[in-house]
């Protein structure tokens, strides 16, 4: 079966959904589902970028710090009086630049991505703390929150853009030659190079695009509020990586889909609110989340092991 993990996660979502439907039907009101989904839109946008990175057999643990910097940057640029499209463009560029730094170090200096992004994660986070000293960006222009639209219109726009990005990524990863090179590089970099693919350039581009997506996610998130804290995105990298790998992308690259990522984001994003509705005490929530992640991936690994035991070699360390 080609999309075993995607199916396993979808099944987990459905199973949990049935349980919640019986115990706390109030979870399935339109208003609640909308709120749960809206909270996950920025995560989804960032997770699209992470999917590309993981497909290339790389990883980026600095996106939480990028997210925080882009959020603060969005506020500062908006306060300088520039118009909204310019603000969005500027933040996209800043995000892309941060991603490009990671990408260049990974692609051409050939430092492992986890080392590069570990370094940029702590360096960017602490640099932001140093500069802002914890101060929030306040007194934003009136047309910043909800992009100057009404709340309803803003939500439609946000979901529309996210859906567009999702559909675009989904289509491109199946059909566009340029995006297919990501799978090629992720599956076997050496073979990709022999095919005439500039593997280093692909890696660089993937990190840059992911940075821009993170910047965009930060813009969407900031625009939901009227002030911007400087410590956002703490632990976001874990949330996003968990969503992507739970959604079936192989950490060793070359395997995974954005549909899986969508399922992963939905599963991890809905667990928290669902547990509240079911009436589980907040104190046990983290443990249950961990258990659900482990069960979801172990359930998929179980049949694989029985079927392939003896046939497959080696273990899967990372």
């Amino acid at each position: 079966m080609q999309h075993r993990r995607e199916i396993a996660i979808a099944a987990t979502i459905v199973a949990l959904g049935i349980v919640v439907a019986f115990v706390a039907p109030a979870f399935f009101t339109l208003a609640n589902l909308r709120d749960v989904f809206m909270a996950d839109v920025p995560v989804l946008v960032a997770a699209l970028g992470m999917t590309l990175i993981i497909l290339t057999a790389q990883i980026d643990i600095s996106i939480g710090s990028q997210f925080a910097i882009c959020g603060v940057a969005a506020g500062l640029v908006a306060k300088s009086g520039l118009s909204l499209p310019v603000v969005i463009l500027a933040v996209l560029l800043i995000g892309a630049a941060l991603g490009a730094i990671n990408g260049a170090l990974v692609a051409w200096i050939r430092i492992p991505s986890i080392v590069v992004t570990l370094a940029t994660m702590v360096a960017l986070r602490d640099a932001l703390r140093w500069v802002t000293e914890g101060a929030w960006v306040q007194d934003l222009p009136r047309n910043f929150q909800w992009f100057g639209l009404t709340l309803g219109a803003f939500e439609v726009v946000t979901v529309g853009i996210a859906a567009g990005l999702f559909a675009g990524a989904s289509w491109a990863l199946r059909n566009a030659a340029m995006a297919r090179t990501i799978y090629a590089v992720g599956s076997n970099e050496g073979a990709a190079r022999l095919m005439g693919i500039d593997a280093a350039f692909v890696t660089f581009c993937v990190f840059t695009v992911a940075g821009a997506l993170t910047g965009f996610a930060a813009t969407l998130n900031s625009a939901r509020f009227n002030q911007i804290p400087s410590n956002t995105g703490l632990g976001m990298e874990l949330k996003v990586i968990a969503a992507v790998v739970v959604g079936g992308a192989s950490i060793r690259g070359g395997r995974g889909t954005v549909v899986g990522t969508l399922f992963g984001v939905i599963l991890l994003g809905a667990i928290g609110p669902a547990l509240t509705f079911v009436g589980v005490s907040a104190y046990w929530e983290k443990a249950i989340q961990g258990a659900i992640i482990l069960t979801a991936v172990a359930a998929e690994a179980w049949p694989a092991r029985i079927r392939k035991s003896g046939g497959r070699l080696g273990h899967s360390p990372a």
């Binding site: 430092i111 590069v116 986070r125 968990a242 907040a282 046990w284 961990g290």
Partner: protein
Amino acid sequence: MVTVQLERMEHRVSSNHSEWVLSFALLAEILVFSAIADNFLTRGNFVEIARTSIETGLLALALTPVIVSGGIDLSVGSMMGLAAVVFGAAWQDWHAPLIVSAALALLAGFLGGALNAVLIARFRIPALIVTLGTYSLFRGIAEGITHGAVNYSGFPKAWLSLGQGYLGDIIPAQLPIFLIVLIGYTVLLHRSTIGRAVYAIGFSADGARYAGIPVAKRVGLIYLLSGLVSSLAALIYVAHLGQAKSDAGTGYELDAITAVVLGGTSVFGGRGGIGGTLLGLLSLAVLQNGLHLAALPSELTGVLTGTFLLVTIGIDAMRARPRRKTEVEEETPMRNSQLAILCGVILAGALIVAGTNAWLVRSLRPADDATRVAVDAHKRPVIAMMPKAKGDPYFVSCRRGAEEAARELGVDLVWDGPTGLDAAKQNEIVESWITRQVDVIAVSVENQAGISTVLRKARQHGIRVVTWDADAAPDARDFFVNQATAQGIGETLTDEAARLLNGSGEFAIVTGALSAANQNEWIKFIRQRIEHEHPLLKLDTIRPSDDDRDKAFVETQTIVKAFPGVKLVMAISAPAVPGAAEAIRQMGRKDLDLIGLSLPNICKPYIHSGVVQEIVLWNTTDLGYLTVYAGSLLSENKVASGAKSIQAGRLGTLEVRGSDIILGTPLIINRDNVERFDF
């Protein structure tokens, strides 16, 4: 030709050029810091460096074979939290003897390691995913058992001396344990067939299998050990800080991984070793310690660590690159040594640049540098002041007042602290201030049991100690600047909730982190007050915001819908109030009341628009101001322990109750008075 290639292979395995690079870097660090930091090159300081890096060090040792095998273990820090809680619960709740409690904690580590081992080695799920899951699971179980709040303390002296005492007055008591584990891991990884197997697996798991290595067993073993050693680290952590709480070891996995990777162990597996890890660990510890001693902001740690990682690993990667393209015919023996020199020069250069930048920052920082030189003759007193968390808006506003007082009084203010809530970091910083010999230490205490020992030590060294915001043990400090008691806050909040709800109704609390000590104290008093005074109030749920505005937003949305009876939300963490307010505003629920504890500036828009009825707080700027004043008076011996009042500049005369300097009663800030406050 074959032999040449074999030699090259052997060369690649055994020689670690990054260790050379790192040694140079470490040397450069030591040179720079002995030039710019006070009392850096003292025996006492090196003892402290050793002591503070032992917990991370143990984790780094455990992670080295894991990473050499091409895997990763993100769950080590969470395992520390779980083992600490098991230890504390066994000793205090089940009244087990200390040895049995310690054994149970180690058993927890063993079982946790076994879970990782089974899922990774037997089920062959990628280690990153498994340990990402157990990262949540272990911490979650610890929080679940203790409800995040229970803080086991009061361990016997004999146990504490394991983490705080000295052998022969010099060697930290926990160092021998670390050395035993170090030797154990060195033998395992570098002197045993198991170690060779781990390297082989890291190179190629398939190849190792063909060579007859029992891959699953070997991989399982190192994860098992990793869990076990993490629980050992937890035991030392508990002895070191005197407390066992579910947040023990938060974020330690990152420090440990950084040390291992910096030490030249390749994340692709098959390359690296214990020696490198030790060097990596040392250079990180020296960097942090040196920055504290040089009174440079601790944010520089992250910036420099990042740069450091990129430069060392980058040089290593650049050096390795030519080999990838085409097999170079014959490498002249000269090349490696040339490269080593080159690396050293580049690194030394980088560090000198960093060092001079640090100088520059340092000299630019106080605007009144000229006056400082002038009065240096009678040495200005140095007041070192520590918040619980540096970036928190609450403490940022305290700092403004502190700086104002420092300017008025002509004292030097050192403001530093952990970047997030971290009891161990607080101890570390106080230690470095003792080494620096500052005149006054003022601490907002995160963990009473843990920091009191260090503060007593500071007093023995003749340093005057003030606590502010949250107190330490009374004998560990001269005065406590008391802004409002936990009881006062809890009762005021409950009374206000009762008033808004007309005495009866359901409400919900959005707190900070579930394990935050302050908030848990308040909640305790809120519950008591409900029981005694407002029996018709009903607390439906307590949800965490982790001091994250966005999380508070989502939690409030969920609470309001999941508990339709809730008529009032009480948000008791500074960023949680605006988060909850925005949620209520977007839902258009005008019937819902919102009160809490936060800063006026970030709540102003919501107070004006009527979403937030009121917030309870004291004047944080005044709190910082008063603390520095009290510290300065103490250092000049202008206030004695029996004093009934003190004169604090613009605040006038303030009452002293026992050894508590009272700032005043909590303010209730609402639409009428919010514009009067700017903090």
